[in-house]
């Protein structure tokens, strides 16, 4: 699977279209390379959702241009964009409509004429086989959210655009989402995820784009931003716990993912004070 690059050029967008309207995007430019994993951060009302909706032609920019691969989005309808972009809505748990979860997940591939094998794979990846025969409204909202994601993964798109995919999910569910998305990214799929959940962002993304008030205000490596407490607090965010721990201990290499932090902790020699080294010895002695 080859991923698609995304190019957003000086895009402006206002809701309403008349005077005194909300200008949601005030000149946004963004380049995402094929296969890149990008997190889109920022406070509520920053324009993140609006930007993602432009990528799938649900809205048209008032000025500027949006490209997905070599397609100019302005000349496409949403159902055409579906061949390239898989879009998971912010309120994805409200978008299900089929009689069974399996049917709902199969809707996209069927419309696009793609093999049904993706359906089973997506259900399996997100651990939804057990509920596949149930009605979507017989499962709780977080599960419905996973179903919506599975429905988009099953389409096997080259670009995944996800609007707050982990909101409302518990840790285990979030881990399933991360694993599924990273697997796609490893296969070359481009991933763009809007999120407030920095623990999720730390696990998923390599690059963080921060929006505020209709503009991009930061664009840097995730590993870099996570350690910049001031930049995060400017948009109402805090470093994830793993990074807090790493900062407190001054771990080398600036680890961001939980597994990296654990790895870095293994390398630490516990010699700060007698008590902690004794604890460490006891721990290693008893194991």
């Amino acid at each position: 699977m080859t991923g698609y690059a995304v190019r957003v050029e000086a895009v402006r967008f206002a809701y309403g279209g008349g005077e005194g309207d909300v200008e949601a995007l005030k000149g946004v430019s963004l380049d995402v390379a094929a296969g890149e994993r990008v997190a889109l951060l920022g406070p509520n009302g920053a324009g993140k959702t609006t930007l993602t909706r432009l990528l799938v032609a649900l809205r048209r920019p008032a000025a500027g241009r949006v490209l997905v691969g070599d397609w100019d989005v302005a000349t496409r309808r949403p159902d055409e964009m579906a061949r390239r972009v898989g879009y998971v809505f912010q309120h994805a748990d409200q978008q299900l409509f089929a009689r069974t979860i399996a049917d709902d997940v199969a809707f996209g591939p069927r419309r696009l004429g793609r093999p049904a094998s993706g359906v089973a794979a997506a259900l399996d990846e997100l651990e939804l086989e057990a509920v596949a025969g149930l009605h979507p409204y017989d499962v709780p909202p977080p599960t419905r959210k996973l179903v919506a994601l599975a429905g988009v993964l099953a389409m096997e798109p080259g670009l995944l655009v996800l609007d707050e995919p982990t909101a409302g999910l518990d840790r285990r569910e979030r881990e399933r989402v991360v694993a599924a998305l990273r697997r796609r990214a490893d296969a070359g799929v481009t991933v763009l995820a809007v999120s407030h959940d920095l623990a999720f962002v730390a696990e998923l993304a390599e690059r963080a784009v921060v929006m505020r008030d209709g503009r991009i205000v930061e664009d840097r490596a995730v590993g870099d931003l996570m350690y910049d407490r001031a930049a995060l607090s400017r948009v109402g965010l805090k470093p994830p716990t793993t990074v807090e721990i790493s900062m407190a201990l001054g771990l080398a290499g600036g680890p961001v993912r939980a597994a990296e932090v654990v790895e870095a902790l293994r390398g630490v020699r516990w010699t700060q004070n007698a008590e902690s080294s004794r604890d460490a010895e006891q721990a290693s002695g008893s194991s």
Partner: protein
């Protein structure tokens, strides 16, 4: 489309109880009016009420009200005009019952006025303001929830329908551009829409319950008495508006007094 329309008209700014009192007066007044002329005045009153809502709201009050009332008018005229008692008068080529026409006018006018007033109240009363007003007024949670969820059910279903259609498009569904094609696409969504709305109400009740908003809960931090929720930003009431509401009540009572007096006399 039916439902709340944001705006700055005098009705939008009025206390929700005032708007509801106006609509209620039209409703009660309708049954006090028994003659075509009286009902004509009532329709005028309802139209004035709707006009107070301003141009944007008229589209979601007057238009659907007329659309709803039109078939009823036709039906009433056919029924009462053709089957009504003698004597008959000529309306062009057809002979219709004069008394039947009067009955049709009264019934049709009532329906029109009531629907128009109800849709105007719906279009100009922000559900959250009504909730605030009722909370400030010490109304029980169950009643507030019932009323506000009823007021918002149509717009919420509309939103959900739009969301599902957009999501389906993003999964490859081609929607024809015509409104009819869109309406057709909505057909199979009726069941998920209702189920979704029910699930949502369920979840809201659970969430509110978890936050201790249920009126079953007794006692509270303050010690003694039922826990009283505080309204965050209750809509402002005024003496003038209170006077208007009392005046409406007196007016309605007077209309009924008049009706019964003339029935006896």
């Amino acid at each position: 489309m039916i439902g709340y329309v944001a705006g700055r008209s005098i009705l939008h700014r009025a206390h929700p109880y005032t708007t509801l009192a106006l609509a209620g007066a039209v409703l009660l007044g309708a049954f006090a009016m028994t003659r075509p002329l009286q009902v004509g005045l009532l329709v005028l009153g309802a139209a004035g009420f709707a006009a107070l809502g301003g141009g944007a709201t008229l589209r979601s009050s007057a238009k659907p009200a007329l659309l709803l009332a039109l078939p009823i008018w036709v039906l009433l005229f056919v029924l009462h005009g053709l089957l009504g008692p003698e004597p008959r008068v000529f309306f062009g080529p057809v002979r219709l019952s004069a008394a039947g026409i009067a009955t049709a006018l009264v019934l049709g006018g009532r329906v029109t006025a009531i629907v128009l007033a109800f849709l105007t109240a719906l279009a100009t009363t922000a559900p959250h303001r009504l909730v605030e007003a009722m909370t400030a007024g010490g109304q029980p949670f169950g009643r507030i929830f019932l009323l506000s969820s009823t007021l918002t059910v149509l717009p919420r279903m509309r939103e959900r329908a739009a969301l599902i259609l957009e999501a389906q498009q993003c999964r490859g569904l081609r929607l024809g551009g015509s409104p009819l094609a869109r309406l057709k696409a909505l057909g199979p969504l009726a069941l998920p829409l209702v189920l979704g709305a029910l699930a949502e109400v369920d979840e809201q009740v659970l969430a509110l319950d978890a936050r201790g908003a249920g009126d079953r809960r007794e006692g509270g931090e303050g010690g003694g008495g039922a826990a009283r929720r505080t309204a965050l930003d209750p809509p402002r009431d005024s003496t003038a508006q209170r006077v208007v509401r009392w005046a409406l009540l007196v007016l309605v009572l007077a209309a009924y007094a008049w009706k019964f007096r003339s029935m006896r006399g």
